[in-house]
């Protein structure tokens, strides 16, 4: 929900980033306030997934200019785990599999690591079990998931649900969902969207990185940004996604509109 008086959670100014010497992000401006849901749309190669990874601190990308602030704290100098503890969460497009480690172990390790860093109490295995089972209900997950190895042999939908479960456990200030809808059938999409909708509230914010409008039927964004060639070339409300669906990306393409960001 949009409330102009809400505090700013994420403030990105003139962000530039390279990978292996090639510039991918060419001056991103983006302000996200608490309670808001932003969608970042664009064709493959527009830089939207790169933006997600750069915000989470992926070491393959080199930031060459600009600033990123989370709650007024500059996070560009922080390593990924410090950003996670500060409240950034990235739901991966392709979550990795960790054969040999039970999902319950992994989830508890992540949860307790973040909890202790935030000065909160850690949970022992029994307490955690109760806690995680409650959260799993949000995502209609079978408790069997806890005993299986992390993501190993999970279907696409199961992996994405496991990502959102982690989001529910870690209670981030800022969640970035990278192509969370890809590979999901409509039933799985509804379950995942429902989970996300229950986690979002007036104290956190969410960025949905997506190629298609489909997800936005179920998680309704307050703002839609269109990326092309490393820049946000158009920003609008939720109706912008529908217009894109109808007219295609060509409709906004080629720098004819360069209104970047949503600062007022």
């Amino acid at each position: 929900m949009i409330n102009k008086n809400s505090k700013t959670i994420l403030d990105v100014r003139e962000l530039h980033a390279n990978i292996h010497g090639t510039e991918i992000l060419k001056g991103i401006n983006l302000t996200v306030r608490s309670g808001e849901i932003h969608a970042i749309m664009g064709l493959n190669g527009s830089g939207k997934s790169t933006l997600a990874k750069v915000l989470a601190g992926h070491s393959d990308y080199e930031v060459t200019g600009g600033s990123v602030k989370l709650d007024d704290q500059d996070i560009l100098e922080l390593v990924p785990e410090e950003r996670a503890r500060a409240g950034v969460f990235l739901a991966f497009q392709y979550p990795i599999e960790i054969p040999g480690v039970a999902n319950s172990q992994f989830l508890r390790l992540a949860y307790n690591t973040v909890q202790s860093q935030r000065g909160k109490e850690e949970l022992d295995p029994l307490e955690f079990d109760d806690f995680v089972r409650e959260k799993m209900k949000l995502l209609e997950m079978n408790p069997d998931f806890l005993d299986r190895s992390v993501n190993e042999g999970f279907s696409g939908g199961e992996k994405k649900r496991n990502e959102i479960l982690q989001m529910a456990l870690l209670e981030p200030k800022l969640s970035i969902l990278d192509e969370t809808d890809s590979g999901l059938d409509i039933d799985a999409l509804k379950i995942v969207a429902n989970g996300v909708n229950q986690i979002t509230n007036e104290n956190n914010a969410t960025i949905l990185v997506t190629h298609y409008q489909r997800l936005l039927d179920y998680i309704v964004p307050d703002y839609v940004h269109v990326m092309e060639a490393g820049r946000i070339i158009k920003t609008g409300g939720k109706e912008l996604a529908l217009q894109l669906e109808t007219h295609g990306y060509d409709w906004v393409s080629s720098g004819n509109q360069t209104n970047a960001g949503v600062t007022t």
């Binding site: 070491s59 990924p80 990795i96 480690v101 870690l170």
Partner: protein, 435 residues
């Protein structure tokens, strides 16, 4: 130079040969006499031998360690931390000598104990099997073991008997500068079912040599799970030969874990002697510093409809060197064989070294054989995933390294052993990363 050293080694070895005991049964005396003759004809293995070309065991030639003769004064309280938590049939050998006061057999109707004692009542069945699988003609260390054969474990499972508790064969080394000869013979009759754990541990930190030979025979429809844990001290030498003979529709599962020793070598030979036999052989080598660990396996399909699966993993740090040679033979008669092998290796430092060699020799035309080998480092995407969940770089590396090993350890069905090994892997990975 090498020749001279080997010569000294052999001379010393021959001098230390035990006097032939007069109370030995004559066939056993003969088996040993033949092995003693054979020693004089065999050459100490060197890098020039194809089977040893990655594994330099020349340091061994400088160590003419004699067999340990002392009787152990170990008490149960000295070693109870090594016991399984589950009820188990425990056979304890100290420096190669049976320690009845430390052993404990709980399942009735089991023929189990040490060779000299059981020889009295079971001489003919022991004779039928002992030395029949571990052929020593072309194996220096098996020959040596056979020549020094005095004590050892004999386990015989009766027809259609399922042994409820695992058998824990605990081999403890307490003496420096000796050679411990371990021998184990497991004979599982038709339709029987058994779990055997071979466990090698040290209670001191100086160098010594373990020379272990294990023979396993599974009759038709018999099943065995065999877990072998080598956690000798970092100065020890461990030379092991294990031979498994599988009859019709028998099933053999093994997990071999190598953590210890300065130099270790395991030869594991599994022969699928009859139709529809199955084996699943997994291994984990976790070494660091200057350790050298070599695993040579041979899975030999002799008859149709056999099934074999193998996964071997190595985690190598420091300047350690691991060797894996996995031979799969599919003989002309062995049609409809289904076989898969994978060798996966994780190098944690720039000096770590692996030689991995799948070796498929297929002489039948209607078979399915898959194999693959990978060598790599921890994946940066995987590390980033874990970091993005709040884990530090070190924690992320530890978790991935641990997971890599745990995948093999999870195949062990005895939970206290599994947990102990998981802990051992965790401790070692933490040591590795905390430097």
């Amino acid at each position: 130079m090498n020749t001279v050293a080997s010569h000294d080694y052999l001379t010393s070895l021959l001098q230390s040969l035990p006097k032939k005991p007069t109370d030995s049964v004559s066939w056993l005396k003969q088996l040993r006499a033949e092995a003693i003759d054979q020693i004089g004809k065999q050459k100490f293995p060197s890098l020039r031998d194809e089977e040893w070309r990655f594994t330099d065991i020349s340091p061994l030639t400088k160590l003419p360690y004699r067999p340990s003769l002392t009787v152990s004064d170990l008490q149960l309280t000295d070693i109870d931390h090594l016991f399984l938590e589950e009820p188990s049939n425990r056979l304890v050998f100290v420096n190669g000598h049976y320690a009845p006061q430390l052993s404990n057999i709980i399942d009735a109707n089991l023929i189990i104990g040490n060779l000299p004692v059981l020889m009295a009542d079971h001489s003919s069945s022991i004779q039928m099997h002992l030395g029949q699988y571990a052929q020593y003609q072309d194996n220096f260390f098996t020959t040596q073991n056979t020549a020094f054969l005095q004590d050892g474990a004999f386990i015989s499972i009766a027809r259609n008997t399922s042994v409820p508790s695992p058998i824990h064969l605990l081999n403890i080394a307490t003496q420096p500068e000796v050679t411990n000869y371990m021998r184990c013979l497991l004979v599982a009759d038709t339709g029987s079912d058994v779990t055997l754990i071979e466990d090698y541990v040290s209670l001191q930190e100086s160098a010594y040599i373990t020379n272990a030979v294990t023979e396993i025979s599974l009759a038709p429809n018999a099943q065995a799970r065999h877990y072998r844990v080598q956690r000798e001290n970092k100065n020890a030498f461990h030379l092991a030969n294990c031979t498994v003979a599988l009859a019709h529709a028998s099933r053999y599962q093994s997990v071999n874990v190598a953590l210890g020793a300065q130099i270790s070598r395991l030869n594991l030979d599994v022969r699928l002697n009859d139709e529809a036999a199955e084996c699943c052989i997994d291994g984990l080598t976790l070494i660091t510093d200057n350790q050298l660990s070599d695993t040579h396996t041979c899975i030999d399909h002799l008859k149709p409809n056999g099934n074999s699966q193998q996964q071997h993993k190595c985690i190598i740090d420091g300047s350690a060197h691991a060797v894996f040679n996995g031979k799969i033979m599919v003989r002309p008669q062995a049609q409809q064989t289904n076989s898969s092998q994978s060798s996966r290796n994780l190098l944690l430092s720039s000096q770590a070294h692996i030689d991995t060699k799948p070796q498929l020799e297929i002489f039948a035309d209607d078979v399915k054989c898959a194999h693959g080998a990978t060598v790599g480092q921890l994946d940066s995407e995987e590390l980033f995933y874990l970091q993005s969940r709040g884990l530090s770089m070190n924690e992320a590396r530890n978790l991935l390294t641990y997971a890599f090993g745990a995948e093999i350890i999870n195949r062990i069905s005895v939970s206290s052993l599994r947990q102990r090994l998981e802990q051992a892997v965790l401790n070692q990975t933490q040591q590795i990363q905390d430097r």
